[in-house]
Symmetry: D2
Subunit: 258 residues, 4 copies
Amino acid sequence: MSGNPGNLKVTVWNEFLHEKKAGGKPAEIYPQGIHAALAAHFSAQPGITARTATLEEPEHGLTKEVLADTDVLFWWGHMGHDKVDDGIVQRVQQEVLAGMGLVVLHSGHAAKVFKALLGTNCSLKWREADEKEIIHTIAPNHPIARGVGERIILEHHEMYGERHEIPEPDQVIFISWFAGGNVFRSGCTWERGLGRLFYFSPGHETYPIYHRQDILKVLVNAAHWAGEPAAAMRAVQGGAPRTGTANSVNEKEPVHPL
Amino acid sequence: MSGNPGNLKVTVWNEFLHEKKAGGKPAEIYPQGIHAALAAHFSAQPGITARTATLEEPEHGLTKEVLADTDVLFWWGHMGHDKVDDGIVQRVQQEVLAGMGLVVLHSGHAAKVFKALLGTNCSLKWREADEKEIIHTIAPNHPIARGVGERIILEHHEMYGERHEIPEPDQVIFISWFAGGNVFRSGCTWERGLGRLFYFSPGHETYPIYHRQDILKVLVNAAHWAGEPAAAMRAVQGGAPRTGTANSVNEKEPVHPL
Amino acid sequence: MSGNPGNLKVTVWNEFLHEKKAGGKPAEIYPQGIHAALAAHFSAQPGITARTATLEEPEHGLTKEVLADTDVLFWWGHMGHDKVDDGIVQRVQQEVLAGMGLVVLHSGHAAKVFKALLGTNCSLKWREADEKEIIHTIAPNHPIARGVGERIILEHHEMYGERHEIPEPDQVIFISWFAGGNVFRSGCTWERGLGRLFYFSPGHETYPIYHRQDILKVLVNAAHWAGEPAAAMRAVQGGAPRTGTANSVNEKEPVHPL
Amino acid sequence: MSGNPGNLKVTVWNEFLHEKKAGGKPAEIYPQGIHAALAAHFSAQPGITARTATLEEPEHGLTKEVLADTDVLFWWGHMGHDKVDDGIVQRVQQEVLAGMGLVVLHSGHAAKVFKALLGTNCSLKWREADEKEIIHTIAPNHPIARGVGERIILEHHEMYGERHEIPEPDQVIFISWFAGGNVFRSGCTWERGLGRLFYFSPGHETYPIYHRQDILKVLVNAAHWAGEPAAAMRAVQGGAPRTGTANSVNEKEPVHPL
């Protein structure tokens, strides 16, 4: 049944470009990269095994073997969106449709994998003005919001504002307020095929947002929620590969006699 | 019907391959092609202007000018899905996101434009066994179902069955029953960007389904519903081109002073 | 606007208690009552006929005859929620399920008719601090948002904040930002039975909000959208009463022979 | 996180009227009543504790203490719907809004608790013709459908057919096919307040449907899914009572200084 299938397999993908620029804020905040920071936190949780993958590895680190062994994939990208190979995008998309979870972070709103799965441009408004963001919990009973409380306050962040060009979410989990007058659906869920998607907007690379315990709580919750179907499949299939539903099936024999 | 903004501009796209095969059923039923049959019916309605476009025309007949002058695009494709140029697919997708309606028919469930907008493979079960289909109206208050009544009965049709790998629809308008024991969500709506989508499964090329008044009523209703946003925009913009929201916007000035 | 079926019949219900208190702000802003101000504006629109009904009239002014002749009912209530008769609540609920539109305004979030149709308490957070509200358009292609633009700014209003205990809306049309740090889904749609519902939060009785052209544009749009199914039924039925689906039906004869 | 919180507390409510009629089919199939059969099965599952409650007990067996100690309530009713006290209906409704799960079975579609939470009449079509029902899985990745497979076939059942007057479900998990030509959304989910609802139509009292392993698998899955929020709350609150959100809150202090 639903729930803790012993061991959840997380892969954190990061383009890992900002953090490599010497002397920059991102390098200071995440010396090993955002992926390493997140993976370390995930691996420290009971029942989670995390690995990382980055843009400049062969196949962006997302080989068939890695994806087949991933219950939930986290995605952080920004300046390197265009460098992601279309074949890998399709591979990720098919794995999601076959049951792998996908958690897209911050500027990943414009990542190819996100746009391919949602079918829209996912455009939005933004402003770098170091302004206060208040993340309000809209769906307090959703597993992703458990233990988060009514709100999370970020004193300084980049503004992301509506209208975000996304399909109406299955559920809006969080809505953010920005001091400059904007609002943003900052936590949204969708299902595509057999897979679960979660978009969570906090995490600009120049702020230490992924070091905050409240934000990390959301991400751990999201890992469990989005990864649950794939983990449950693994438990049943004993490690046999996920089978997607890419092709239509000719069901020649009727279920009821004609 | 709802929202008649004087003149609704319909384009019926058809791959137009089956009907060109001499001596075949499709050629017998639709001697000028499915597109011509549908366009003639649309044009006979007050307030609708219809044109056609087909696969083998330059740019598949879907030039920028044609799409900019289209409120709602109907799409029938099957054996030629792979021949549709990816650039045209993207063009259609962007026009839908900018407000053009899209009505996808029957085997168009596997068309590139449909999959690009929904983000899934849209696979399903099928059986050619000449079996009875009963299309039940599930959302009788929806503009697409107006005047249709409780059900439409097709004595002979190809079976399309669940699970159809689509995102949960905004609304399920029709569910079909098949004599061989299958069910299918045969009429579904979604919104993507500023555009409205409707998928309607009846219409296998070897049955005269698009000559039926009850089916044509659904299609005329769907033209009005899906085309309404674009027609309303035209009324306001006086023919100026639709503007999509493909790109994010840097809103440097806050709405409320920081 | 969309779907103008010649003549749309609007009834504006108001408890009409605040405005009767001599010397108060509401009396100053709406000397004839909120209902009279709104009905006058509706009646000034081409194709709309509006009437009013209030709490202290017999049957609260909502006789069977009045409701049967109403395509869309607007509802403003606050201090008199408990005085609304349960029989009238059920009558309104059944008319909505049979196709009448319902637009619930501001403090009507806690009205019996709204809670009966949504099934939740519709509780929220509030604060009377005269603070700025920015209403952001989230669904710019929805008929209710047509011509409204990206945002409406109210310099002074009562704060309504999340979490609003409502079922996930079919569509979130507007989200409001408040200077004091709150957000609110200020425009939401649902369908219940054959009827359409819209909740719109602006309109505290001590501010002249219903005299603003931008707010009135939303309300006129909402009247057309929510009233469209009932108006379309009238057009077809020639004035015969709406028939709901209150009772289950024994369909003894199978559609397909057993 | 989500999942098995050690011990799930299930209460099975049954009007228990049909089974008490001597010599009838229901008495033969469920000699101790439907509630007893289901509770015995639940209690045999690891991690579940089940109890029962019936119409003719004081407070229908649904005292405040019982409900406060219930994570998920199953509801089977039919001929006794009108005998259920309105105060108890409100009590159950408030517990669901505060986080308790509710699984409504078969003729419970017309139960007061179901109608109160959904806001509609929940009317449908029915036929007692001993016909075949094929339950198709539409959402195979949903926890309720895990391990169920593509379909469940009931050789003989009462027909329930569309249109079922329910709000558009959050997810349609199952759609049923009936030999007589009808279809029915036989498994549907909604959320209301903090609680999860599932409606599952199989289970007419004259067929031994609740003795089938495939049907019981769905019900155990549903118990875990619908009861998960309440069980998770218990784990955190250490047995302190659930707190609903019945009342609006005056948040006098702004989150952000005005």
